[in-house]
Amino acid sequence: MSGHEEQSGTTGGYEPKIMAFVCNWCTYAGADLAGTSRMEYRPNVRIIKLPCTGRIDPLFIIKAFENGADGVLVSGCHPGDCHYTTGNYHARRRWIGFKHLMEFTGIDMRRLHFSWVSASEAIKWVDLINNVTDEIKKLGPFMEYRGLKDAPPQAAE
């Protein structure tokens, strides 16, 4: 089942759906800090908390796009700050591979963002969400991906 009702309301028009995969120790805490500091940012992001960016399988990102995400954000501790000492280094390696693969497949990289946000970088988190949301808003819904399910497979040549 799919939630995420369209949030036209106050702004009018299209509101993108953005999925964020974040680590528990840095980015999640940074997003909490944005709250405790009563900052404001675009409401389009839905966070999924994981212990570490090292836990993030690239397939999560593919799954998010499959489920109608217009953009995906992946974020964790800065290099050297990982709660598990090296989890984010492992994550970075995978991202390097995955990012190039997605790019080569033709995914618009404005829809897939990687970031380091520490537990104290509430401002960075807010700016990141706002920028990513605005950028994806301009791009519009990810119809290319969303449409894939309904397109019938072509017959082999």
Partner: protein, 302 residues
């Protein structure tokens, strides 16, 4: 040394290995019944080694028969495998990933001057036009890891910058707009019938239970729509990053001609640039996706 001479040495060596009991099975190439194509054969009887052949049609990468996917072959006992340099690269990865111990396999390395891309193209003579991209850039025509090498030393040196259709096409795709690449791939993948021939033929796809067979959760949508096709092909490509040796078997096996070599070679290039790693040369170095360096480049991470 001609193919005929190599064949002769190969048969003698195989007989010797089987007779002495040093190996229990020799994995090699033989003729099909019509003697028009080569096919994998498994010789356990020393009297049958004359069935082994070697010629430019021996394009199949036999290393897949060393994997856990073929338990009945493993059950025969210690194998000897007839392998070209490119095939040996896969064996090296299998050793790195603990799928086979170096001492548990006898590698008969064949010096190779190139193969035909598809056996149907064979007209009795090996010309550059019918050779795959990998042969034009091959730096392992003299087998780099082997217990016994057959053939006179190849003098071939690969060109400094890789040449061939695959590289040209990658360059062309890189130069296109994302939407054009997207359309290209979606069109290519749309033909995918999820027969998984690419996986079956690949010796590095050695998982006993492939991710696509895992439900709860269902990682890959198995129904034949384009979205499932995309996730299958992306996932397989991702699983091969830093491991694929560009043997080309997946593309050769694909019944609907999806250009998988493009995807895999692109990622080989990425791994080379980002981590200075080439798969299949050194069994002691871990594939780059499970290790890291604190200095990895990260200009795209904001």
């Amino acid at each position: 040394m001609t193919d005929k001479d190599m064949e002769k040495t190969l048969r003698e060596k195989a007989r010797e290995l089987l007779t002495s009991g040093e190996v229990k099975v020799v994995i090699g190439w033989g003729w099909n019944r019509a003697r028009t194509k080569t096919t994998p054969i498994f010789i356990t009887n020393p009297d049958e080694t004359d069935r082994l052949i070697f010629n430019p049609l021996c394009v199949n990468n036999l290393s897949v028969y060393l994997t856990r996917k073929f338990k009945d072959i493993q059950a025969l006992g210690r194998p000897a495998i007839v392998a070209k340099g490119c095939d040996i690269k896969n064996i090296v990865v299998l050793i790195t990933e603990a799928q086979v111990k170096r001492q548990d396999v006898f590698i008969i390395g064949m010096v190779c001057e190139g193969m035909v891309y598809r056996q149907e193209l064979w007209k009795g003579e090996l010309t550059p036009e019918i050779m795959p991209t990998k042969c034009h850039n091959c730096d392992v025509r003299n087998p780099h890891v082997a217990d016994f090498v057959i053939g006179g030393r190849s003098a071939f040196t690969p060109p400094e910058a890789p040449v061939g259709m695959v590289f040209e096409k990658i360059k062309a795709l890189d130069g296109q707009a994302p939407s054009e690449r997207w359309n290209f791939w979606i069109n290519e993948f749309s033909r995918c019938i999820k027969c998984y021939a690419c996986r079956q033929v690949c010796s590095l796809c050695f998982c006993e239970r492939c991710i696509t067979e895992k439900n709860m959760p269902q990682w890959i949508e198995t129904s034949a729509h384009q979205r499932g096709n995309l996730s299958w092909n992306l996932t397989r490509a991702m699983h091969l990053v830093g491991r694929c040796t560009f043997c080309g078997e997946c593309e050769r096996a694909c019944p609907v001609n999806i250009p998988l070599n493009l995807l895999n070679q692109k990622m080989i290039g990425v791994v080379k640039d980002a981590f200075d790693f080439r798969s299949g040369y050194d069994e002691k170095t871990h594939p780059p996706m499970i290790v890291f360096s604190p200095d990895d480049k990260e200009n795209f991470i904001k």
